[in-house]
Amino acid sequence: MTTLHRAAGERFTLHLTLNGQRRSGEAEPRMLLCDFLRHELQAFGVHVGCEHGVCGACTVLLDGRAVRSCTQYAAQADGADIVTVEGLAEPGTLNEVQRAFAKHHALQCGFCTPGILCSVTHFLRDTPAPDEQQVRDMLSGHICRCTGYAPIVAAVLEAATAIRKGS
């Protein structure tokens, strides 16, 4: 048998790649991935909102895909390559998407922003020239209660153009 078994309550060491660096921390089977990233690896850019996959605040890139980190467990991410908002640009700098968000005032309180930025990163890689409807469809997976979506849509569309010109 090659089945991995972790008993309920058992503490174990978990290794994964976070923002390009090999990291490890302690988890137990029921620990949510978002809690592991925040509490064990201090990736505080992972925001935890609803804890049942609805609000999108905890969205991270897992092996390149934008996914919820609250509806999967740390144990599942053993060996995974994870990028959080901290890893989207060099520390102290902003990437094209982040610059467009600042320019268009696409964030107010900022709680939903890290998750949205992770989604946009994956989305623009798959859909480099989106139309507004496609952007709105992607954003339907994030709940923003203060900025309003119009500036976010404008920022994503402008970032898409900027990235296409730059590459």
């Binding site: 048998m1 090659t2 089945t3 991995l4 078994h5 972790r6 008993a7 309920a8 309550g9 137990e28 089977p29 029921r30 949510l32 809690d35 804890e51 049942h52 996959g53 609805v54 999108g56 969205t59 897992l62 895909r65 934008a66 996914v67 919820r68 609250c70 509806t71 999967q72 467990y73 144990a75 599942q76 989604s119 994956h122 989305f123 469809d137 992607m138 339907s140 997976g141 994030h142």
Partner: protein
Amino acid sequence: MKPVAFDYYRPEAVSEALALLSEKGEEAAVLAGGMTLGPMLNLRVVRPRAVIDISRIQALKTITARSNIVVTGAGVVQSDALRANVIAREVPLLVMALPWVGHFQTRNRGTLGGSVAHADPSAEIPLALVVCDGAVVLQSRRRQRRVPAREFFLGALTTQRQPDEMVTALEWPRAAPDAGHAFTEIAQRHGDFAIAAAGCSLRLDKSGRLEELSLGVGGVESRPVAIDAKGFLGCSASDIAAGLCEHAAVSVTPMEDHSASADYRIALTRVLVERAVNDALAMARQRRDRLQ
């Protein structure tokens, strides 16, 4: 909002997962993408003693075209299915249903088999499987069996699956190249659970009469239902939509819950069936004209 403590198992082969299921039975929950089980665990709606994580079983992630069917492994991720050429070509209805499933971020993790095994009354993938007249492959240590989708779903979150069985694959009949398809739904917000959904596949003969028709609605009853509309075969396609939507509206026994009354679900059935039939007709005409 943390789950109860559970034993975590991560098998790498189907046989290992089946051995665990046969040992644990009802105490175990099978975890694939976790887009439905995850919330249920976190909300403690379910409290399994053991969670069997099948997300790393590579054998469950294959898409295979056979002579009459396309077989999707239970672990195929929804966004991968949406991008697969063979599915776009052979199972167009599934490609039309998938953009309605949750959101970009949940489709990146949720699986085809997970949605079917969970059997939410308003879920799109089960409805697409029912309209396509596909089948669910179940495996246990005792046997392997194949259950037609139209018999698999028994009610809300209830299926023919026995506690020691696992959904390992879905079988999708290949659609005819001249068939038209449509899928549509109404939800309070895009990506939310559908209050009602409709799917339709049909073919026309050379003179524009209805030759084949498959129609189903989801979210209306406690399970996705196929609507028997044999009486419409042979009718001229130009005037079937109105009759079909009335027929569908009287065929269903709608449920009532916090999001909609039974009357509202009947009204939606009428509207959505009409839209789906008209869209499928338009596609069938276009394809027929191109093939001629």
